[in-house]
Amino acid sequence: MQTDKELEQKLHPAMVEGDHTFGSVSDKIGDVTLKKRTPFHWFIGFAIAFMIAQLLLFTTMWLLANGIGIWGNNQPVGWAFDIINFVWWIGIGHAGTLISAILLLLNQKWRTSINRFAEAMTLFAVACAAMFPLLHTGRPWLAAYWLFPYPNTMGIWPQFRSPLIWDVFAVSTYATVSLLFWYVGLIPDFATLRDRAKNKFFKFMYAILSWGWRGSARHWHRYELAYLILAGLSTPLVLSVHSIVSLDFSVAQIPGWHATIFPPYFVAGAIFAGFAMVLILCIPLRHWYRMQDFITHTHLIYMGKVMLATGLIVVYGYAMEAFFGWYSGSQYEYFMIKNRIWEGPYWFFYWLLIFCNGISIQFLWFKRFRESEFWLFVISIIVSLGMWLERFVIIVTSLNRDFLPSSWAMYSPRIFDLTMFIGTIGFFFTLIYLFVRFVPIISIFEVRTLLPDANVHGHQQDFDESVLEIEYTYDKTDPPNQ
């Protein structure tokens, strides 16, 4: 029988552990950026990431000099690693926005310690993703008039009915809004760093970045309104962006692409991949920077649960694709699913995909795996690989064998496909390391609202309450922060 206290602990677990005050929270998080001595492990990690990012630089130069022929793309498989990587990176970005925006609207306090670096992850993932649509055009210097609607000397315009243009608008909007949302969240934290910094140069830089923020209640009022509304805008944005990316495929007629399940299936898959990447980032981060008080065990368990839930939706997607293939009665659709599962040359990757995305997450049903940092990390890596394979299976197997057997041909990646992909991973981690060094990795002012000291007359601060005058559904006299 659980006691009342145990039940309370289970229903409302503490989101900040340890005995913290406003000052200690500010110090612990701020010191990571303000300390003069950079930890040695930072230099090692940054050096490795930066060297890997050079692969991207060299591959891009070689690509611009020689054209898309250096990749393995060819008819019929005209889209391969370029689009797989684009969709993979954009998908990863979506978890950051979900954590920041959607969990804010759902009043989930566990978002507070992870939202800052999750949003940073989103920005860097979108930066990596955006390179592919630009560079895969072959002559990216001409991509300006292909992609962006501006009056040009040839008098031509992009085709607004095409999902490829919808992508341009969606990804540009997503990058911009994510940047704004992230930056707005940083303004009060930069002010905290400005007031604490001893180094004159950094004090000056943080002063500029904080725009003169002073913590005025009148400013906080408008700030909260803007922040909440941005969250409300980012939610339909994140859902629409990956839906539009999925429409790149489903608007075409290729069997295996032309399916109405794609938008929700891709969005769930994006959140799935994104949470895997958030776990890959935050498990080492909380140890190396001793943030266990803020990114608690509870946070990891919740993220594991979200990963399991979205993974199950993705598995449902796989099952439905197989079902449609048969139920449609179309020989092309039926062949497509046979080709993927057992007849085609890439059947191995399909089964690897089922293992990575379907089977590995089943371990998360068990407490032992859900509560173990090591297993969460391992499963997250497997899931990241699995999500990459999913896009591989969708793109390559459908293109490799479509309607006419005389058009069938094999695809295999060449070295530059691999170096470009690995280079973007290096680029991503380089940016993450820079972020960790110079910017507070956890949202300081939001963590302050979680402390019991933040109570006014026994009433816990919440980000979305009286600003929009939402009625409480719980008893106001509950003890705070249980």
């Binding site: 000052g23 002010a191 913590g215 005025s216 009148r218 509304i229 302050r448 006014v456 007359h457 009286s466």
Partner: protein, 169 residues
């Protein structure tokens, strides 16, 4: 300017200040406090309405751009679709709506707050640096109608503050 140690003290003091009839007041805290809006008599901002207008502008811009391109300037028949094919036009217009709303939200908030503003008299008080860390402050501006140095200072000292400072311009 009065300094307080806890949020509760600040809110209670703010209520007393509002009840005494002061209007040009402000409170400072390291995180947003909801009760303070009502305690100081801060009115709801016009920002949400502005954001809505920004969103409508974005929507009209998106539809307008697509209309101009596909109906006026360079109409071509694609698969028998009408020149103004609204279902296909929705995604870019939708994205521009969100983009313009987001711009209005962020830049509107910064503009209405008067930021960037590197200098403000409150920064002249050295302890004010703690406002972004752990302490709470309350000020009554000299521009207020009821302001009278000696009287206001005496009143602030009755509020239960840690310390009361004078803020130089």
């Amino acid at each position: 300017m009065a300094e307080f140690d806890t949020a509760t003290e600040l809110v209670d003091a703010a209520r007393l200040v509002r009840d005494a009839g002061y209007t040009k007041t402000d409170a400072f805290s390291p995180f947003p406090l909801h009760e303070i809006d009502e305690a100081l008599g801060i009115k709801r901002s016009v920002l949400p309405q502005l954001i809505f207008c920004g969103g409508i502008t974005g929507l009209l811009t998106g539809i307008g751009l697509e209309y101009f391109v596909h109906v006026v300037d360079f109409p071509i028949i694609v698969g028998g679709r009408p020149h103004f094919s609204l279902p296909a036009f929705i995604p870019p217009a939708y994205e521009l709506t969100i983009l313009f709303s987001a711009f209005t939200a962020v830049f509107g908030m910064l503009f209405l707050n008067g930021l960037p503003r590197p200098y403000h008299p409150v920064f002249n008080v050295p302890r004010f640096g703690l406002a972004t860390r752990e302490k709470f402050f309350l000020i009554i501006e000299s521009a207020d109608e009821k302001y009278e140095y000696a009287e206001t200072r005496a009143f602030m000292e009755t509020l239960g503050a840690q310390e009361v400072f004078d803020v130089e311009e």
